[in-house]
Structures are given as structure tokens and as C-alpha cells.
């Protein structure tokens, strides 16, 4: 058996996969990754099963020692990763790792969450069909801490080395437009309330987490009150309690709740919520369900790397490390440190 050793865990790091489905009627949240798009891309870069478990890091990442040869992929927010202390182009590509290599992360420049995927996925026993972490119910591994060891598969090969070119990578801005479908309780709000919700910018407060993002901004007006008979909640639901400030419910949200829901974030925009952090701004745009259901799932373009080269050059007595990837389409997409 091979392992990843957690030297430092980072601010809030957990093992997640696609999520824990099928148990919502028993009160079990789905958990799972907060940015599906970056997660899926990381597994695709490794030709992994799309439900393989990864490390999800938040705001500030850890350092990890690999106790076997393997392949990894790092996607999501840029935490300035280093390999054995050296800053190199490590993100958004299939990376070959040798036994003893250490990958270390700093803090995010933009975005919020970073995914570290390993070939074959993090090996954990399935708990109710998933390897996702839900701390409240002791499901999954729990918050990663110093000295933890994570089992991985050994003797892995990768059929191809891939890359997401710089131009194809998602940009994580601190102001985002998020598409929503109004309802099911839109009738509980005044027209003025709905207009406020769709026209104003809301800011992510510091009391935001994997359960939900509490937003600060103009109060959204109800016709009467915010209480409903508790009903089911799905990821992406936007609740508006009496105070009038919306809460976007996310991966660890409870499965039922008693506040009016004004709208839901559409599935293909949910990943955006996972990359917002306290202080970031959101504007909501309503679309109808028919348009939403016609939309294709977002995908990040991956390119095959035919060969790669690293070398040093000197320009005007300044030394640069250069890495060149020769990609399948014919043009090289170079990165410079």
C-alpha cells in the first residue's frame, strides 16, 4: 500500500468526492466537493473514475509528502504550489510524482478552493456509498491534521499526459454573476423583493462555510413572513429568512428547512459558489427552467501533451526557468516562472 503523508493540513482540508446520494430522505446531506468543475477536471487529467476522492483545500493549503511514485493533478484556486520547494507550473496538468516528493501550497490569490487529486483516488472505505466528509455525523475522514496518512494506489500508470492551457482555465473573480431559477416560494415575496434580489449585489459574509454562504446586502421583502412548513432543501437553494438577507445553501446543507426559498442556483453555476470567499460579490440573474435544462454542462478543455521541456535562460543577466509543453494541436503553450 502507498500513502500520502499530511505534513501540514492547511486551513480547512477534507476528503471529498462527488457526494453522498440516496439518503436525503433520512436527513443525510450530500456533502461532496464545492467546485464540481475543478474536481471533475482534476480526475479527468488523471483518467480517474469521475467519483474518485480528492483533497479539497480552503483558502490556505497544506503540504503533502508522497510515499510512492504516482500521478497527481491540482486544479481550482491558485495557491502557488511548489514541488520540493520549487515553484513550477504544477496546476491544471497531469503531474508525475516520485516517491519522496513534497507538494506544498500557500494561500489563494483568487478563488477559494483547491483540489489535489491522485491517480486512482484517495483510498477510503465507502460510508453510505461515498468517501465524502460530513463532520457533524462523523462520516468520512474528518478534518485533515498533521501526521495523517492517506492511502493511495501504487504502481499506477497514466495513459496520457494532459494540460489545461492557460487560456482555457476558469478565472475566479471577486464579482460573479450567478444564474438562478426563481421558486418555489417566489410568491412569498413582493415584486419589490424579487427586484431587489435580482438587481443588487450581495457580499459573502465571513460566517460562510460548506453548509451555506450567508450574504450581506439589501433586505429582500416578504409579503408576510419567512416561515414555511419545513420542506426539502437541495444544494443551490437560496433561503431568505425574516431578516431578509439571503443564504445560498451548499454541499453540507441540511436536507430540510423552514424558511422561504426565493430561487435556486442552476446546476452549471454551482461551481462558482465554491470559489467565492468572504468579501466577494454576487449578482443573481433569473433564467427560466427550459433554458436552464437546454444548457450544456460546463467543461474545461484539456489538451494532450506530446512532450515537455524545462530549461533555464538568461535575459539581460536575469535568469528564468522556462517550461514548454508541446501540445497536440501543434502550437506550444508555454509557461514562464
Amino acid at each position: 500500500m502507498a500513502y500520502i503523508k499530511v505534513i501540514k493540513p492547511g486551513m480547512y482540508s477534507t476528503i471529498q468526492d462527488k457526494g453522498r446520494f440516496g439518503f436525503r430522505k433520512y436527513g443525510v446531506p450530500t456533502s461532496g466537493v464545492m467546485d464540481d468543475l475543478a474536481y471533475e477536471t482534476a480526475n479527468k487529467l488523471l483518467e480517474n473514475d469521475l467519483a474518485d476522492a480528492v483533497i479539497e483545500m480552503t483558502l490556505s493549503g497544506g503540504s503533502f509528502e508522497f510515499e510512492a511514485d504516482t500521478y497527481i493533478a491540482i486544479t481550482g484556486a491558485d495557491m502557488s504550489p511548489t514541488l520540493n520547494g520549487y515553484p513550477k507550473p504544477l496546476m491544471w496538468r497531469t503531474l508525475k510524482i516520485k516517491k519522496g516528493d513534497v507538494i506544498a501550497f500557500q494561500s489563494v490569490a483568487s478563488g477559494c478552493r483547491t483540489y489535489l487529486a491522485v491517480k486512482g483516488g484517495v483510498q477510503l472505505p465507502l460510508e453510505m456509498e461515498s468517501r465524502s466528509t460530513y463532520i457533524r455525523a462523523n462520516l468520512g475522514k474528518g478534518l485533515l491534521k498533521c501526521g495523517d496518512t492517506l492511502k493511495i494506489l501504487s504502481n499506477q500508470t497514466c495513459g496520457s499526459m494532459q494540460l489545461v492551457c492557460e487560456k482555457d482555465r476558469p478565472r475566479y473573480e471577486n464579482r460573479t454573476l450567478v444564474k438562478v431559477i426563481l421558486g418555489p416560494h417566489e410568491d412569498a415575496f413582493t415584486p419589490h423583493g424579487i427586484q431587489t434580489f435580482l438587481n443588487k449585489t450581495y457580499f459573502v459574509s465571513s460566517t460562510s462555510d460548506r453548509m451555506g454562504y450567508r450574504l450581506q446586502g439589501p433586505s429582500i421583502e416578504h409579503k408576510t413572513d419567512a416561515d414555511i412548513r419545513s420542506d426539502g432543501i437541495v444544494r443551490g437553494a437560496i433561503q431568505v429568512p425574516g431578516r431578509g438577507e439571503p443564504i445560498v445553501l451548499l454541499s453540507d446543507c441540511q436536507t430540510s428547512g423552514g424558511y422561504t426559498k426565493i430561487a435556486h442556483v442552476i446546476t452549471s453555476d454551482l461551481w462558482k459558489m465554491g470559489q467565492l470567499k468572504p468579501g466577494d460579490g454576487i449578482r443573481f440573474e433569473a433564467i427560466d427552467i427550459y433554458s436552464a435544462q437546454k444548457m450544456k454542462a460546463p467543461m474545461i478543455k484539456r489538451t494532450l501533451i506530446e512532450s515537455e521541456r524545462s530549461f533555464k535562460i538568461k535575459i539581460h543577466s536575469k535568469q528564468y526557468d522556462v517550461h514548454v509543453d508541446l501540445i497536440k494541436e501543434g502550437g506550444a503553450c508555454g509557461e514562464k516562472n
Binding site: 446520494f21 440516496g22 439518503f23 436525503r24 430522505k25 433520512y26 436527513g27 443525510v28 460510508e127 453510505m128 457533524r136 455525523a137 462523523n138 462520516l139 438562478v180 431559477i181 421558486g183 418555489p184 416560494h185 414555511i228 412548513r229 419545513s230 420542506d231 426539502g232 432543501i233 437541495v234 443551490g236 437553494a237 441540511q254 436536507t255 430540510s256 428547512g257 426559498k261 435556486h264 442556483v265 442552476i266 446546476t267 427552467i289 427550459y290 436552464a292 435544462q293
Partner: protein, 228 residues
Amino acid sequence: MKPQIKPCGDRALVILFEQEINESINQQVISLMFQVERLKLQAILEMIPAYCSLTVLYEPELILYDDLCYLLAELLEKQEKMICKEPVTHDIPVHYGGVFGPDLKYVAQYHHMTVEEVVKRHTKGLYRVYMLGFTPGFPYLGGLDKSLATPRLKTPRVSIPIGSVGIAGDQTGIYPLESPGGWQIIGKTEVSLFDQTRENPFLLSPGDRLKFVAVTIEGGSYGLHKSH
């Protein structure tokens, strides 16, 4: 009142029945869920039954919103028969009072009753599991004797042991996990509501019935004694 169907984003919808908490309406929710499950459609991913609504999660690549609404409307038309599985009734053995039920005496005093009377009224009822939520395996039970309704603690406890049986307002329930909370704790059961290592991790399902059975009662006029 005709049930309303509304979208919950692009991969879920909710059927809203008459918005009241009562057995008859909840039975319609459970019955509809049962009928949808019976169809064994790949397009239906899972469902969340609640007091008076059913949330259905589906795969839009396999069925679009309008078509699913149509299918559900047809099932709702057939609702008169209220087809369902036989409800399961669970007996929940409880140690009332003492260290297991630190608030039992308070509840008794609040209602000018003896401890024994509180236990008698709590164990007399046949409770309905309306839904599960708040935390894995936590049942929302209906049927608490109105004379036992007691306000929550002014200051919630930081930690309530797993299996604690409590009262909050006009609700009664059991904590499936250790958690903070403001319920009046009147007893404790050793029965496990949620155990992820079990083949069926959850003891209770929405629509089940439940009875509390007093194993021991402590703190009443007779000291610690077993119940017959």
C-alpha cells in the same frame, strides 16, 4: 386543494400539498413517494418527503421538467387509493429521569404533574414519523400529548448525549447523534437511530409509527423503579 408543482432549480421540483401538519396530508406525501418509487424510473434520483411536500430530484437528461410534471399529475389523480406499504411500528425503550432525563422533574413541575404522570402520557401515544431531517436519522414526530408541551431551555446545552429523548414546544424527538440543543431531556434510549456500519443505517423511515416504552423511571415518588 390541488397540489402545486414548482421547480427547485433545474434538477429538482417540489409537490406542495395543503400546507398543514396533519396525518392525512402527510400520508398523501408518503403515498406519492411510494408510487414514484414503484415506477423504478432511472430518471428519478431520489426524493425528500417532508410534512406536506415531496421534493423530487431528477435527471433532466432523461426527463424534462414539463414531462415529469405531467407524470406526477397523473399519479396525483390516482391518489384516492392512497397506496402505501404497511406502516412499521417501532417500540423505543426509554430510561426516564435521573441522569438520563435531567429535565424530567422540571417538565413535571411545569405542568403540575408527577413524574409518573408525565411518563404515562409520553408512553401512551402512538407517534407518527412525519419526516427525517435536521441531522441524519432525526425524526420529526407528531402526536405529543398537548398537555406535555414545554418550552425549550432558555440556554441550550453544549452537548446532549446520543439517544436522548426530549420535548421542545409541542414536539418530541430522539437525538440520533450527540449534538448541542435546547430540548428538555426527559430520558434516554439505547436503541441506535443511525449507525453507518449497519446494513440499514436508519432505524426510522418517514411514515413509520413509534411508541415509547418506559424501562425504568427515576426521580418520581417511588424512587427508581421498573415499569410494568
